[in-house]
């Protein structure tokens, strides 16, 4: 039991430390480590991943909680999730201090001045990717009109009610999905 927990901490801390660029980049690392320790086959992990994507929360954290639970119960879930988050919390605390120190520095202004439009492009690209997977089937000729209808409905709600809470929109779209699709 203690050994299981220690292995969980080690594996998830390691993955957390070397995953740059967000949750989905961790997937290959997860698969390698889980197969190595015999915790989960990659087929099974794909099921877990789809669960992790359908539930709220960061995808990587959700997967860690699930796998931790399957290895060492509730304690395992807590330990695995904590170990996965720990490296980014520690590193970000140091970076954050640095960022606050250089707040008005001209070099920082220059670097972030060019990073802002780049970041907007990244967000837009992510939106386009989600849109592509959501509005189209396997091919571009396979258009899912009902889903596009839901999106238009949400867009009208968002436009009509200026100060609308995004949480309300999420709940509304889930209900619409169950009723229409």
């Amino acid at each position: 039991m203690i050994m299981d927990l220690l292995t969980l901490i080690w594996v998830f801390f390691k993955i957390g430390l070397f995953s740059f660029g967000g949750g989905l980049t961790m997937v290959p690392l997860f698969i390698i480590e889980f197969e190595k320790h015999g915790w989960m086959t990659s087929d099974r992990f794909m099921d877990v991943l789809s669960l992790a994507q359908m539930t709220p929360g960061a995808i990587a954290m959700n997967s860690a909680t699930y796998v931790g639970n399957s290895v060492a119960g509730v304690t395992g879930g807590v330990v695995a999730t904590g170990a996965l988050a720990a490296p980014s919390v520690i590193i970000m605390l140091l970076m954050s201090r640095f960022l606050m120190k250089v707040k008005e520095h001209p070099i920082k202004e220059a670097v972030f001045g060019s990073l802002k439009p780049v970041t907007i492009a990244l967000i837009m690209f992510a939106g386009l990717q989600i849109g592509e997977n959501t509005f189209f089937g396997d091919t571009f000729t396979n258009i899912r009109w009902k889903v596009i209808g839901i999106a238009l409905f949400i867009a009208v709600c968002q436009y009509g009610l200026k100060k609308i809470n995004p949480i309300f929109l999420i709940v509304l779209s889930a209900i619409a999905g169950v009723l229409v699709l």
């Binding site: 957390g16 430390l17 995953s19 740059f20 660029g21 967000g22 949750g23 989905l24 789809s50 669960l51 359908m54 539930t55 709220p56 929360g57 960061a58 995808i59 990587a60 954290m61 959700n62 909680t65 509730v74 879930g77 999730t81 980014s88 919390v89 970000m92 605390l93 970076m95 954050s96 960022l99 606050m100 220059a110 670097v111 972030f112 001045g113 060019s114 990073l115 439009p117 780049v118 970041t119 990244l122 967000i123 837009m124 992510a126 989600i130 997977n133 889903v147 839901i150 999106a151 949400i154 867009a155 100060k163 995004p166 929109l169 999420i170 509304l172 779209s173 889930a174 999905g177 169950v178």
Partner: protein, 195 residues
């Protein structure tokens, strides 16, 4: 009466507010990563006024370059600026707790049968909603983050690189370095154009 007073004081405490705000974001963060940006905009910029749009963009680009998920990085940084290191830890806990609660419950309740039809439909609906919300975020960020024609050059080049399959980290690092180089070479002129 007295307990009400005590509770009022506790809920005003910055660390409690940080935890609760990020707990709320965590509970409604579907789809991971960039999908949380509309939620962050609403909670941190419009409601709490802890950061502005420019700072949100800085945090996102920074999160891409440090290990870990955007959600945790954003929570740690904002928590740290508002409530020191403890604030950072507390805000990150707020993001993690929903994952822990929901997945642990599902693990024991649903077991192996979580491929339900209704959940699938609801999730497809949510994804349609995410696309709309991200579009709006892009629009508002575009209006506040773009300054001078050079911004548009950076934006279009980054988008082109992404469409050609470049890795996001590569795009960000290249963008940051070229910003620095341009500042170094044309320092005064670009400062007037305020890239």
């Amino acid at each position: 009466m007295e307990s009400k007073l005590v509770f009022g004081r506790i809920s005003e405490h910055i660390h409690v507010q940080l935890f609760l705000s990020f707990l709320k974001v965590g509970f409604f963060m579907f789809g991971g990563g960039y999908a949380m940006i509309p939620l962050l905009e609403r909670e941190l910029i419009e409601k709490k006024k802890w950061i502005d749009k420019g700072e949100l963009l800085e945090i996102i680009s920074f999160s891409q370059m440090t290990p870990g998920t955007i959600a945790i990085n954003a929570a740690t940084h904002i928590g740290n600026t508002k409530g020191k290191a403890l604030g950072g830890v507390v805000a990150s806990l707020g993001i993690i707790v929903p994952s822990l609660l929901i997945i642990t419950i599902l693990y024991y309740v649903a077991g192996n049968h979580f491929e339900s039809d209704i959940v699938q439909k609801a999730f497809t609906g949510i994804r349609a909603c995410l696309v709309v919300m991200i579009c709006r975020s892009v629009y508002t960020l575009f209006r506040s983050g773009m300054r001078g024609s050079i911004s548009y050059v950076f934006f279009l080049l980054a988008l082109l690189a992404l469409f050609c399959g470049a890795h996001p980290i590569l795009v960000i690092v290249t963008g940051g370095i070229s910003g620095f180089v341009i500042w170094k070479w044309f320092g005064h002129r670009t400062k007037k154009a305020s890239i």
